[in-house]
């Protein structure tokens, strides 16, 4: 074999992180895609929904495929498809092309990520042997793995996935701001190819020996309650991340890089949660506590008392710590004592991505309707402020015309009215009056934008609360 064990292990972890980052990496790019591809909020949401939906549907069949043709070959093919579809995403000039390419990307990603879970135990075992004696080759199969290496494999796989998912939005935001939204996808292709090179050696070995087909084992049924809870809590977490990003960029007018910095609080808190989780209670307690924190965080976001970035930090802290606790606990529960790992890992991937997709599908019409309603209320409130303002009537009428033009230009979005006040009057008294008026109008718009997201954050909290039902049932029923 050409690849040394440790680089190959790193390559496998990178592959998992890369694919699972993809479910969230475009979140911060969505507003830019929304504008550049001239689509609607509901339309652009499908850039995320399509990927998650296809991942949800394809994860388990992909895991079966990996066990049939060999995890090395499945991972290599999956990464190649992922890279190719990533290039297609980056070159897409229409929303429909982008969504189609995202679906293909998800197919490749599902094959890669489930196959890697099958490869990891043997790779970890090889690493352990490599530390003791020189290894000239290795067999792929369960004879080199053990219960211990399977548990460690789950830990590596889950950590790589969680790291990717946590870093995704920030990396996506940075690339969107510094380069372009297309660069997110174009950059994925070479990384996927580099991660796939060491896997080729395993694929060649499988092709030469045909050892995998002989190792097919009967698949046990999935852990229904843990996977159901995973789906619900993933829907709630998707709500937190997706809605918060939209609120920051579309509602509060932050740049993608600014929003990336703000939402980095969530993965940082998740790191804290992961440390906390390693020393706290059993899986069920961690799952319950994590889900409660996610619900609390979403509740806080639904009740923001002002349009201030700092006020999003405490809720993000709760969601971040909560997601680290609940996702790791539920994934461990779903995989504990189940074999084959790739199939059950496929079920957890399927549950998580189905949750994200369902969450987005349920929430999108709610918040788009709320944005439209709040836009109307904001315009009414702003008109009232303008009518009652103590500024020169002629100036007031000029402003009214300019604001009306901006409202017309911004279609269904929460409008930006700042430019309507340019140029400011030269007379100091008029200037002060106009600045005060602008502040009052902006306050009304901020209130509308923030309030438009409240019901959706509340709905996300409800989804998180629902996750407590299967977690609670799991106390009584051994699955």
């Amino acid at each position: 074999m050409s690849a040394a064990p440790r680089p190959r292990l790193a390559a496998l972890a990178v592959a998992v992180g890369l694919v699972l980052a993809d479910s969230s990496i475009v979140v911060l790019a969505l507003p830019r895609i929304y504008r550049e591809l001239d689509t609607s909020v509901a339309g652009v949401t499908w850039v995320l929904v399509s990927f998650n939906l296809v991942m949800a549907l394809a994860a388990v069949p992909a895991a079966h495929l990996a066990r049939r043709i060999g995890p090395g070959r499945a991972a290599a093919i999956g990464l190649a498809v992922f890279a190719g579809a990533g290039l297609a995403c980056g070159l897409a000039e229409q929303l429909s092309t982008l969504i189609a390419a995202r679906c293909v990307q998800a197919l490749g990603g599902a094959a890669a990520v489930t196959a890697v879970l099958e490869l990891l135990p043997s790779e970890l075992a090889r690493n352990e042997r490599h530390d003791l004696i020189p290894v000239s080759g290795a067999r792929v199969g369960s004879d080199v793995s053990s219960v211990g290496s399977e548990r460690r494999a789950v830990a590596v796989w889950a950590t790589a996935g969680a790291t990717g998912a946590a870093l995704g939005p920030a990396v996506g935001g940075l690339l969107t701001e510094l380069v372009s939204w297309q660069s997110i996808f174009l950059l994925q292709a070479p990384i996927a190819i580099v991660a796939g090179v060491p896997v080729l050696a395993v694929a060649r070995h499988e092709a030469a020996t045909g050892v995998v087909a002989a190792e097919l084992r009967r698949t046990g049924r999935p852990n229904l309650l843990a996977n159901a809870a995973l789906a619900m809590v993933s829907a709630a977490i998707a709500a937190a991340l997706f809605l918060l990003v939209l609120l920051l960029i579309e509602g509060w007018r932050l740049s993608p890089i600014g929003a990336a910095i703000v939402v980095s609080a969530m993965p940082l808190a998740a790191l804290l949660g992961a440390r906390l989780g390693s020393s706290a209670g059993g899986e069920r307690a961690r799952a319950a506590a994590g889900a409660i924190l996610v619900v609390g965080g979403l509740g806080g976001l639904a009740l923001l008392p002002k349009a201030e970035v700092a006020l999003t930090l405490p809720p993000q802290l709760l969601v971040g710590v909560g997601l680290a606790l609940v996702l790791s606990a539920l994934t461990e529960t779903a995989l504990a004592g189940r074999a084959p790992q790739a199939i059950h890992g496929g079920w957890t991937i399927s549950a998580r991505h189905a949750g994200v997709a369902i969450g987005l599908i349920v929430l999108t019409p709610v918040f788009t309707a709320d944005i439209a309603e709040q836009r109307h209320d904001a315009i009414d409130a702003s008109t009232a402020v303008l009518l009652d303002a103590r500024v020169d009537p002629l100036l007031k009428l000029q402003l009214a015309q300019r604001i009306e033009d901006r409202l017309e230009g911004e279609r269904g979005k929460v409008p930006t009215i700042g430019p309507a006040f340019e140029p400011l009057p030269s007379d100091p008294e008029d200037r002060a009056d106009v600045l005060r008026l602008r502040e009052e109008l902006q306050d009304q718009l901020d209130r509308a934008a923030t309030h438009a997201f409240s019901p959706s954050f509340g709905l996300g909290a409800l989804l998180g609360l629902l996750a407590l039902v299967p977690i609670g049932l799991a106390r009584r029923v051994d699955l």
């Binding site: 209670g281 609390g296 002002k306 009537p393 009428l397 009306e404």
Partner: protein
């Protein structure tokens, strides 16, 4: 602390922290952070102390808008936007199913209410209010439509806004 106790502590701590955050945000006004509600145009709106003709004209216009909006069953703000341009007015009448005659009648009713409000606020002499009402009642519908076609004059220039009555007002202002 054993595993079970640690688990119970973790869940209780999660509940406490979550409730504390939600409670703090509620206490800080999180449930009422929304755009200001528009006022019912049928309810009286106090006049500010107007200084000079321009401010009286503006208050008069706002009262007239309130009165007309009340008559039509829409908000003052929606009507003000409708009167800003002919295109906006057309969208408004289509949306609410209001024809030009109804709109003109409503504007006339608004003008009468503005006279009442101005008189109550002491901005219009009672000696003037009676004849002014009589003048406004006689304003032809076409003229009312002409008046509302020009939103600038509606909000800015009392004389244009009231047509023949404008001159009277200027003469009898306190």
């Amino acid at each position: 602390m054993n595993g079970g106790s640690r688990g119970t502590f973790l869940v209780v701590a999660a509940i406490a922290v979550s409730l504390a955050l939600v409670g703090a945000y509620l206490a800080a006004g999180g449930s009422s952070y929304e755009p200001a509600k528009t006022q019912d145009p049928c309810k009286p709106r106090p006049w500010r102390n107007p200084e000079g003709l321009a401010q009286i004209a503006e208050q008069f216009s706002l009262s007239a808008l309130d009165g007309a909006a009340c008559q039509l069953g829409v908000s003052r703000e929606a009507l003000a936007r409708a009167l800003a341009t002919p295109a906006a007015r057309e969208r408004f009448t289509k949306r609410y199913g209001i024809d030009d005659t109804e709109l003109a009648r409503a504007v006339r009713a608004g003008l009468l209410r503005a006279v009442d409000d101005a008189e109550r606020a002491g901005a219009l002499s009672p000696l003037l209010a009676g004849p002014l009402r009589a003048t406004l009642r006689r304003i032809p519908i076409e003229q009312a439509i002409e008046l509302i076609n020009d939103a600038r004059s509606l909000l800015n220039n009392l004389q244009t806004f009231l047509g023949p009555a404008g001159g009277l007002i200027e003469e009898f202002l306190p």
